[in-house]
């Protein structure tokens, strides 16, 4: 009896503990779909078809929409992150990596395959400037005042600083073989040098490499924990996560993570969700111990995002999987003026909304040809 009296408040406490059903969006760049996982059950709860290759994603400045770039299809996909429903699609030139400027006024997009960096007005997606740059512009980051955007040029061993207002380069500097990710961190730029084993610490004034932090071969990019207490660097060749002290940039821990770790997102409990490019999985990593478990997703998962949520996503009614007339109205986006010619705008128009996310197929319900060939 005494035990029961003891156990009841405990049970009540457990029941009262906040339930979590965060949605984890995984962009499968080698498969034509986005996987949406429930963070608690680890089950795929939605599968959103895309046309070609999705790589990176971000929230709009007002945090109401998730914007996903389908690079080869020349398309931006807008999603309601709370429901995983596609709200609209817009034509835009080859969106690979994309970020909003800190003041929310500009959207900058790198076009890895076309050697272009595009600066758009964030609200209207009107092209303001298009820069033809050296080989393979990859990731980008802003200065906190939003005056400059820094772009890694993967095939040219360089980092480029571009003045947003004037739409032209300020400096270009050699930083190492195949620079990939770049972030602004406490007055410095941290650049993942993928053709080497280190993060380059770069002076944002002139692009000079001040020092290097060894993290493992194939150093890709760095992500800051939301509480600011750690930096995490991914290395794709050594397949490793390196924990860095944000103050000193000293290495605190090294965790092996087989499969080619690439992008990281953090859930509300502080766990790391890491895409593993070469094994079609994402890893969930405990930040206290580095212990990881993995979950199967599509081929070559790249960008990842966690949307906090309490309730599990409701099942999708069958009708929602087919096009209906009740689709939300198409956003009006007008073509940008083509002036002057070298910076001519890509024609922007909005395409009709096609059905929202489809429910995740039950095991064995994948298309026959993929099932039979293991794709």
């Amino acid at each position: 009896m005494r035990r029961a009296a003891f156990a009841l408040p405990l049970l009540a406490g457990l029941l009262a503990a906040p339930a979590r059903a965060d949605l984890v969006y995984v962009l499968n760049s080698g498969d034509a779909f986005i996987t949406v996982l429930d963070s608690t059950t680890r089950e795929e709860v939605r599968r959103i078809p895309v046309l070609r290759e999705v790589h990176h994603l971000l929230l709009t400045p007002d945090r109401t929409e998730l914007v996903i770039g389908d690079s080869v299809a020349n398309e931006l996909i807008f999603l309601d992150p709370a429901t995983a429903e596609v709200t609209r699609r817009e034509r835009i030139s080859n969106p690979y990596h994309l970020e909003y400027s800190p003041d929310g006024r500009h959207l900058v997009i790198t076009s890895l395959r076309r050697d272009q960096v595009d600066i758009y007005d964030a609200a209207t997606r009107t092209l303001q400037a298009r820069l033809r740059v050296p080989d393979k512009p990859s990731h980008l980051a802003f200065s906190p005042d939003g005056r400059l955007v820094y772009v890694t040029l993967q095939g040219a061993r360089r980092l480029m600083a571009i003045d947003l207002a004037q739409g032209r380069p300020v400096w270009t500097a050699e930083v190492g073989r195949q620079p990939a990710g770049v972030i602004w961190h406490r007055g410095r730029l941290l650049v993942g040098i993928m053709g080497a084993d280190h993060i380059a610490v770069v002076d944002p004034l002139d692009g000079k490499v001040e020092r290097t932090i060894p993290v493992g071969r194939g150093a890709h990019t760095v992500f800051a924990a939301p509480d600011g207490r750690a930096l995490y660097a991914t290395s794709r060749v050594d397949s490793r996560l390196t924990v860095l002290d944000p103050e000193t940039l000293e290495v605190r821990a090294r965790w092996d993570l087989p499969g080619g770790p690439d992008c990281i997102a953090f859930d509300p409990e502080g766990r790391l969700w890491v895409t593993l490019r070469w094994v079609a999985r994402v890893a969930v990593v405990d930040p206290a111990t580095g212990a990881a478990e993995t979950i199967p997703v599509g081929r070559s998962p790249h960008g990842i995002f966690v949307q906090p949520r309490r309730e599990p996503l409701p099942p999708v009614p069958v009708a929602a999987t087919t096009p209906t007339d009740a689709a939300p109205p198409v956003a009006e986006v007008t073509a940008a003026p083509v002036s002057p010619p070298p910076l001519a705008a890509a024609p922007l128009d909005a395409s009709p909304v096609v059905p929202a996310a489809t429910p995740a197929p039950e095991p064995g319900q994948a298309p026959w040809w993929r099932r039979s060939l293991g794709r």
Binding site: S29, G30, D31, A32, P49, L51, R52, E53, V72, A73, N74, R91, N94, S111, R113, R114, D115, Q116, R130, D135, Q154, G155, Q178, M194, G195, G218, R236, V237, S239, P258, G259, G260, L276, R277, W278, V279, A280, R281, P296, R299, S300, P323, P341, P342, L343, A344, A345, A346, P347, S351, P352, V354, A366, W369, R370, R371, S372, L373, G374, R375
Partner: protein
């Protein structure tokens, strides 16, 4: 389960063999492309296994002719392994991807963005299988015209004659092509695939489907698909007529690779059933017909040079 196994196996191969090599060569910016190529190579190997499992029993069951010259068949096997491991498609894809970036960069600067097939036909967006079939039809149409060009241009026929000079045609003969002819084919096919925007993940599968059909059509088997079937899919009988002695060069018939409908539409079809003529090119030099791989390649280069110089 199978999907997981495939991902784990390709992941291991990439992480432990290919990626370290790329890193050592300073080519890490090509990592994604090489990862994509793994599918080509593995699908190529898988394709050889499937083709063998299907065609070999058929050839044993009802051969058109007895295999008199096994050495000639072995040469065709060399061609198959060289071709299907995907080295040439990879090179073509990498080369075309670079060309495409320049081309598309120029187009977007001129204010033009080529639409995808799904934009032109929105229902394809939600029906991956239907989209796949449309891609196959479009690419097969492209292959029909490439084949017409191989026979129509004298310089191209100088190379393509290697393919036709085999007198012991079997399912291995499909890949018996001059390397230059292969390069042209890869550029043509890869270029068309990029132009219509085939999703990269589907490209190896489309290639696999086309190759399966092509190998079967070369098989040494007395097989016709019947009155209707002959008009739907290229059969061993339909294609053997194309390889017949009287069908060499510009006088050819039955150019289709997978779907005979193109021959039907463009007036080059020969649907005479029950016809299984001997194959080869009358008067062709022995090196082209029965030489080893290297001799045939050299003879092809020589013939091409002679043709271009206007002496043939």
């Amino acid at each position: 389960m199978l999907q997981d196994w495939y991902a784990a196996a390709t992941g291991w191969l990439f992480e432990h063999v290919l990626q370290p090599a790329l890193y050592a060569l300073g080519l890490m910016d090509w990592a994604e492309d090489l990862y994509g190529w793994l599918d080509f190579a593995l699908f190529g190997l898988f394709g050889i296994a499937v083709v063998y499992a299907v065609c070999r029993p058929l050839e044993a069951w009802r051969p058109v002719e007895r295999r008199a010259d096994r050495r000639a068949v072995r040469t065709d096997m060399v061609y198959t392994f060289l071709s299907r491991l995907g080295i040439l498609p990879l090179l073509a894809f990498v080369l075309l991807a670079s060309l495409q970036s320049r081309w598309e960069g120029w187009l977007t600067e001129a204010g033009i963005m080529p639409p995808t097939l799904e934009e032109l036909f929105p229902p394809l967006r939600e029906h991956a299988l239907l989209a796949l079939l449309v891609y196959v039809v479009v690419l097969d149409f492209g292959e029909y015209w490439r084949h017409r060009a191989q026979h129509g241009f004298r310089w191209w026929w100088a190379l393509h004659a290697i393919h036709h000079s085999q007198r012991q045609m079997t399912f291995w003969t499909d890949d018996r092509n001059h390397v230059l002819d292969d390069v042209l084919a890869a550029l043509w096919f890869g270029g068309l695939a990029l132009l219509i925007g085939v999703p990269p993940g589907q490209f190896p599968l489309i290639l696999l489907l086309l190759r399966l059909g092509e190998s079967l059509s070369h098989a040494n088997v007395r097989l016709s698909y019947g009155r209707i079937g002959e008009r739907l899919l290229v059969s061993p009988r339909f294609h053997r007529l194309h390889h017949g002695l009287l069908s060499a060069g510009a006088t050819g018939k039955n150019y289709a690779v997978l779907l005979p409908v193109w021959d039907w539409i463009f007036g080059t079809a020969d649907f005479r059933r029950g016809q299984f003529p001997p194959t080869g090119v009358p008067g062709i030099e022995p090196a082209m017909e029965s030489g080893g791989w290297l001799r045939q390649q050299w003879a092809g280069f020589r013939r091409l040079a002679t043709t271009l110089a206007g002496r043939a």
